[in-house]
Symmetry: C2
Subunit: 260 residues, 2 copies
């Protein structure tokens, strides 16, 4: 993962090209650049900390929410409150992307929103494929948040022939062995695994073989994938167990504390 992110001289130039394809809602791409400094020189965000990356989507959502409420400008304090974080942390996070605010004023909501979306890479839609159309796969396929936040579900696959042909969220459920073909044709880079744990590793292997390089895994199992492939895991019962741990520590006390 680190190796694939190190020293990428052409990255920013490509992003600049993409930037001109879709113009931001307010302001031009050069807004905020000090005069006399070339665009190449000022390019920030070479290496954004992982913790910051994980928060950028939260800021993006908070900004969208502010924009829908009609807010044109916001301070770091406002945005931090909306995102549920500390304002100092927010400012530091944003500083990794560049200087998109104005001192004494704050941030232009639409402009900052575009900049974060561009940094994350969701100014255009990413095609996504979902494998495993059980209860969870159903829910994921129907989740409207994907579409509105930069993702487009292009295919649903399942190993069970009994499910083939049924239509879920407007898409037909197709056979698992169509994976490679679909992935190639539609240039899919992101795959979602919503199968039982037993099938997850072989699905992951097939995805990697088909050229998918980012996997979101809902199956409760550890996947092993080659370098260069990112895996993120969402595990429902692990989240509950973490809550249970803290719950256990606060639960028995109220009765006892009286006696102390």
């Amino acid at each position: 993962m680190e190796t694939s992110r190190a020293h990428r001289p052409f990255r920013r130039l490509l992003e600049t090209r993409a930037l001109t394809a879709r113009t931001p809602t307010t302001g031009g791409p050069d807004q905020g650049l000090p005069t006399g400094v070339t665009a190449v020189e000022v390019t920030p965000g070479r290496d954004i900390p992982e913790a910051t990356v994980a928060r950028l989507p939260i800021y993006l959502r908070a900004l969208t929410s502010l924009a829908e409420a009609g807010t044109g400008t916001c301070s770091s304090e406002d945005l931090a409150t909306a995102a549920g974080v500390n304002s100092a942390k927010l400012r530091k996070d944003l500083s990794y992307l560049g200087s998109y605010g104005t001192r004494g004023v704050g941030y232009d909501v639409d402009y900052l929103r575009y900049q974060i979306a561009r940094e994350i890479g969701v100014t255009q839609d990413w095609p996504v494929i979902i494998v495993g159309i059980g209860n969870l796969g159903h829910a994921l396929a129907n989740y409207s948040g994907f579409r509105s936040r930069g993702f487009r579900v292009v295919a649903l696959l399942d190993a069970d022939p009994a499910r083939h042909g049924s239509v879920v969220a407007g898409l037909p459920v197709r056979a698992f062995d169509e994976l490679a073909q679909i992935t190639t044709e539609q240039d899919v880079a992101i795959g979602v695994i919503a199968t039982p744990a037993a099938a997850a590793q072989s699905v992951a292997d097939a995805m990697v073989a088909a050229g998918i390089t980012s996997v979101l895994n809902f199956a409760p199992t550890v996947l092993s994938v080659p370098d260069g492939v990112d895996v993120r895991k969402v595990d429902l019962s692990i989240e509950l167990q973490i809550l249970a741990f803290h719950e256990q520590r606060k639960a028995p006390l109220p009765a006892q504390e009286e006696t102390a």
Copy 2:
């Protein structure tokens, strides 16, 4: 969160009581204690780092998996591989709980599994209530992993009267205003929010008022709750956006790198 965890003198005594109620599969509770040291003196794990807490469920799952495969004893290396982490990190994590291994030998799978389950607090089932029985709520209600990992869904609630009475996963969908009654009667401490974002905050408020102190939130919104209430968030599109960020950084390169 920190305030609620500080200085809990009675915690360990209560846990010791719980320990005698359910005896571990192998070995007694005192196994591994150096002679001549009182149980109170040696009690470890006063303050377990949050990062470690988040990994304990992973170790628990890996141990279950090993046990099912018939493994009686495993080294830190074995377990680390199964859990997908570094063995040094694993040993350090386990050392916060106590000395449950044997040098030169490794860990007894069943015994360690019990100790971790006890530390997390999943030796007995936690009652859980789910609010919002849409696509996702359906999937959660049907998820068998909860039951097998220390949780028992005791009620499904929804604000939509059209859904009331329908049976999901063997449970009837009930009216939202039954929340307080059910929570009190069944002593529910953990609530799951699977509603649309717009409803989430008011659901959270009602949960807190009903005495729930741990919330797992699937709605894409920031919840504000009083001190002493834990909230964990699972956000599907945020996970995808994080993947997209990394994907964007590796995608355009292969073609360019040839020319460099």
